[in-house]
Amino acid sequence: MQETPEIPEAEGEGNPQPEAPSPTFGFRISDFGFRASPARLLEARHVSKSYSVPVLTDFSFDLERGEVHALIGANGAGKSTFARVLCGLTRADGGQLRLDGAVYVPRSKRQAEQEGVVMVLQELNVIGALSVAENLFLNRLPRRAGFVRFAELHRRANQALARVGLSGLDPAGPAGRLGVGQQQLIEIAGALAQDCKVLILDEPTAALTDPEADRLFENIRRLQAEGVGVIYISHRMDEIRRIAGRITVLRDGRGVATHESGDVTPAQLIREMVGHDLPEKKPTGARPAGETVLRVSHLRAGRQVRDVSFELRGGEIVGLAGLIGSGRTETLRATFGADPKDGGEVYLGREDRPLVIDQPADAVLAGIGMVPEDRKQDGLLPAQSVRANLTLATLGRHARHGGWLDPESETETARDFCTRLAIQCASVEQPVGELSGGNQQKVLIARWLAREGRVLLFDEPTRGIDVAAKDTVYQVLRGLAAEGKAVLVVSSELPELMALCDRILVMSAGRVAGEFLPGEWTQEKITGAAFSGYLNAAQD
C-alpha cells in the first residue's frame, strides 16, 4: 500500500487527525497516541484488491482483543484474499489496516509475524525432509554462532507440541512421515508457539479428526483468554457457531453483514452468502435426455472422494457444483483415470461389466475426454504450436501406413477448429503459450472435440477467461449436447451452471449431497446442499 494513497477516513471515533503516513519519516502520527479510546486490536477499512477482476471491494472488518471472529462466504467470496492481505502475502490495492491503533502495512509474511499477525495457511507447508521441530521453528531457529542449538529447539518444540495434544511425538523425527491431520496440527502448533496478537486460521479443521478439532478449539479458547484475536475462516457452520463470537458474511468481495453468532441461523447465513441480486435464469428446458452413457457407482478416491454415484445421459449437460475441496475435481480425475481409485466402478452405457480404467489412456479409448482444471500444468505444451497442441490426442488419425504423419491433414484439422471455435492466433504454427488464456482453453477443448468421444468432462472450463471466450465455451458445450453427447461440467460459478445445465449435482464433503432440475433449483437450495455435508460434526 506504500505506492497507493491511503483513503482518507471520516471516523467518528475521536480521531480528528487526518492520517498522513509517510514511511520515510520513520514514525507515524498515530504513534503518538492521539486516540482517545483504547484502540481495537485490528481494524480494516475499505480494503479492496483486484487481480483481473475485483476480489475484494470496499471491505471493512474489525477484531477485538480476545475475540473469535468468523469469516464465511461461498467460493471466491474473498475470504482467503483478505487473510492473505492481513498476513502480508498480498498487498491490497486500497484501504487501510490498523493494528492496535497504528497503521499496519504488512509487506511480507515475516514482517506480519514480527508485528504479531500469524496465519495458518489452508495448504500444508510442511517440509517433509526436515524434522518436526525444524518445521515448527523454521524461520526462527535458536542458534549460536550460526549453529542450531538443537537441545533448545527440541525443548521448545516439545512445549509447542504438547499444546496441540501431540506430546508423544518425537520432535527430531521427519515431518514427512506424519499424516495430513498431524501435519496440519504441526502448522497450527508453529503458529501458536509465536507471540501473536492476531491469529488467522483458514479452514483449520479440513484435515482434522473430531478429537483433534476439539483440542484445537481448547487452544483457541486459551488464546482468547490471553487476549489474542482470532480470525476463523471455515465452511463448517457448526464449528463457527461453536467457537465464534461474531460472524461476518462475505459475498463477491463485499461484506454483507456481521452477526452475533447466537442471533443467526444457518439458513439466514446461506441466504446472505448467496444474495438475491442475481436473477434466476429461466430453465432452458426441453432438451430431451437420451440413453444413459456413463454410470459412476460408489466411487472412492483419496480423502476427497468418499462415495460418489451419478449417471450421465446422452444429450444433457450436467453441472457438478460444490465448495472448493468438496471433491469435484477429484471425482472427475478419478473417473478419467488421472488419479487412482480406491473403490467403485465406472460403466459405459447399459453395460454390466465395469470399465477397466487404470490410466487416462483407458478412459480415452472408452470415449471419455477431460479438459483439466489446471491448463498449464495438465494440458498445454506451451512452447509448441497451436496445431501440435490441438492434434495431440488424435495424432494417429493424421498418420498413414503405421505412423507416418500427413502434415497437411493435420494443419487442415487445426485450421478448421481455429475457425469453428474462433481461436485467435497468428497462424496454427504460433506457439500456444503466446495466446490468451481464453484461446488456450479453446485449443484444449478442440483437442477433445477432434477426438469425438461420447463423454466429455470439463473442469472449470471458464476459469480465468474473458467473456467472449466464455460464450464460445458455452456454445461448444450446448453443441456437444445437441450431438447427443454426455457433458459434465464442474464450475464454481452457480449462475453459469444454472444457465447452462439440464441437471445439477451438488457435492459436499466427498459425496453427492443433492440433485436439482431446472424447475426446482435456486441458488439458495444449491448452496444449502453444498454446505450440508459440513453441517453436522459427526462426519464419517
Binding site: 480415452v364 475426454g369 494440458g379 509448441q384 505412423g403 507416418w404 504423419l405 497462424s427 504454427e429
Partner: protein, 327 residues
C-alpha cells in the same frame, strides 16, 4: 519442420565452415585430404550415438551409459568374430542386440520403477564397463581385415560407416518430426502430465527411446571397432560427455521438449573438427580440453540467449538463412 529450423541449420553450417577455414588458415596441412579423411572417420560413431542421445534428451531424460555400453558391445563383437569365428554381419547384429537390451533395461528401470534416468544410467555406466572387462579379461583383441572394411573409403574418400551414419541421422530426424512416435516424444518432453491426460500412455515410448539409444550405441560400437581393427574394452570412455556436448551444441534442450537430430549431427561435426584442428595446429591435450570445454559452454549460452532474446550473434546468422514464415 518449420523454416526456423533451416535458419538454425544454416547458422551451424556457417560455424562449422568457419572452423574449417580458421584451422585451414592456421595450418597449411589442415585442409588436405588426409585430415578430412581422419575427420570423416571419427564422425560415424559419435554421430549415431548423438542421434540416440538427442532423442533421450528430448523426452527429458539422459543416458550416461553410452560409452560403457559401446565398450561392452565392442568387446562382445571381438569375442564373436575372433573366438567364435562369426561373420561380421552376425557379430554386428549381436552388437545391436546387446546395446538394445542394455538400453531397454535402462528404460524399464527408470520408467517402471520411477528412478531418474541419470541414476539408472550412471549405474549402467559401471555395470557395462565391468562386463566389458569380464568378457575380455581386459584384453584388446585384434580382428583385422574382416571388420576394417566398413571404415575403408568407398566414395569421395568417405567410408561405408560414414554413409550408414548419415542414413541413420536422416532416418532419426524423419522419425522425430514426421511420425506419431516422434511427436509423442517431443510432447512428453514438453509436458508429460499433459500427454498422459490426453490419453497417451507415455511409458512405452519412453522405454522405446532408451532401447533405441542402446541399439544405436551398438551400431556405434561396430563403427568404432572397425576403425581400430580390434576390439578394446576401454573403448568409449568419456563418449557420453562428447555426445551430450554435440547434442547440446546442436540446440537440443536438456529440459526436454525441443531438439533436432540433424542439428546434433552438425554439433558432432563441430566437435570433431575442433578436435582434429587443435591436434593439427599442435595444441597439447590440456589445451584441447580447455578449448573444447569453452566451446560447449559458449554454444549453450548462445542457445539460451537465442530463446530469450530477439537479437544475438546466432540469431543474426539465422536471419540470413530464414525465409518469411508461411501463414
Amino acid at each position: 519442420m518449420t523454416t526456423k529450423r533451416y535458419g538454425q541449420y544454416g547458422a551451424m553450417v556457417v560455424i562449422w565452415v568457419g572452423l574449417l577455414l580458421f584451422f585451414g588458415a592456421l595450418s597449411t596441412n589442415f585442409l588436405t585430404a588426409r585430415t578430412l579423411d581422419t575427420l570423416a572417420n571419427r564422425v560415424p560413431t559419435l554421430a549415431v550415438v548423438s542421434a540416440g542421445m538427442t532423442l533421450v534428451l528430448i523426452i527429458g531424460g539422459i543416458d550416461l551409459s553410452v560409452g560403457s555400453v559401446l565398450g561392452l558391445c565392442g568387446a562382445i563383437l571381438g569375442l564373436a568374430m575372433v573366438n567364435w569365428h562369426w561373420p561380421l554381419w552376425a557379430g554386428a547384429l549381436l552388437c545391436l542386440g546387446i546395446g538394445a537390451v542394455c538400453g531397454a533395461v535402462n528404460g524399464w528401470v527408470s520408467v517402471r520403477l520411477c528412478v531418474p534416468s541419470f541414476i539408472v544410467t550412471l549405474g549402467m555406466l559401471e555395470i557395462a564397463r565391468g562386463l566389458a572387462y569380464l568378457t575380455t579379461q581386459s584384453q584388446t583383441k585384434y580382428i583385422g581385415a574382416p571388420v576394417e572394411g566398413l571404415s575403408r573409403p568407398v566414395f569421395l574418400g568417405l567410408s561405408t560407416a560414414f554413409f550408414i551414419a548419415c542414413a541413420v541421422i536422416v532416418a532419426a530426424q524423419v522419425v522425430l518430426s514426421r511420425t506419431v512416435f516422434g511427436r509423442h516424444l517431443i510432447a512428453i518432453g514438453a509436458n508429460e502430465q499433459a500427454v498422459r491426460l490426453a490419453g497417451i500412455n507415455p511409458r512405452p515410448p519412453k522405454i522405446a527411446v532408451f532401447a533405441l539409444v542402446g541399439l544405436l550405441t551398438g551400431l556405434g560400437a561396430v563403427f568404432y571397432t572397425s576403425r581400430l581393427g580390434s576390439s578394446d574394452p576401454n573403448a568409449g570412455v568419456g563418449l557420453e560427455l562428447s555426445a551430450i556436448a554435440a547434442v547440446v551444441i546442436g540446440g537440443t534442450s536438456l529440459m526436454g521438449g525441443r531438439g533436432s537430430v540433424l542439428s546434433s549431427f552438425f554439433g558432432v561435426l563441430i566437435i570433431a573438427t575442433l578436435e582434429a584442428g587443435l591436434a593439427q595446429v599442435g595444441a597439447t591435450e590440456p589445451v584441447k580440453r580447455v578449448t573444447t570445454g569453452l566451446v560447449i559452454v559458449v554454444a549453450v549460452v548462445l542457445d539460451a540467449w537465442r530463446h530469450r532474446m530477439t537479437a544475438t550473434p546466432l540469431t543474426f546468422l539465422q536471419r540470413l538463412f530464414q525465409r518469411s514464415p508461411p501463414k
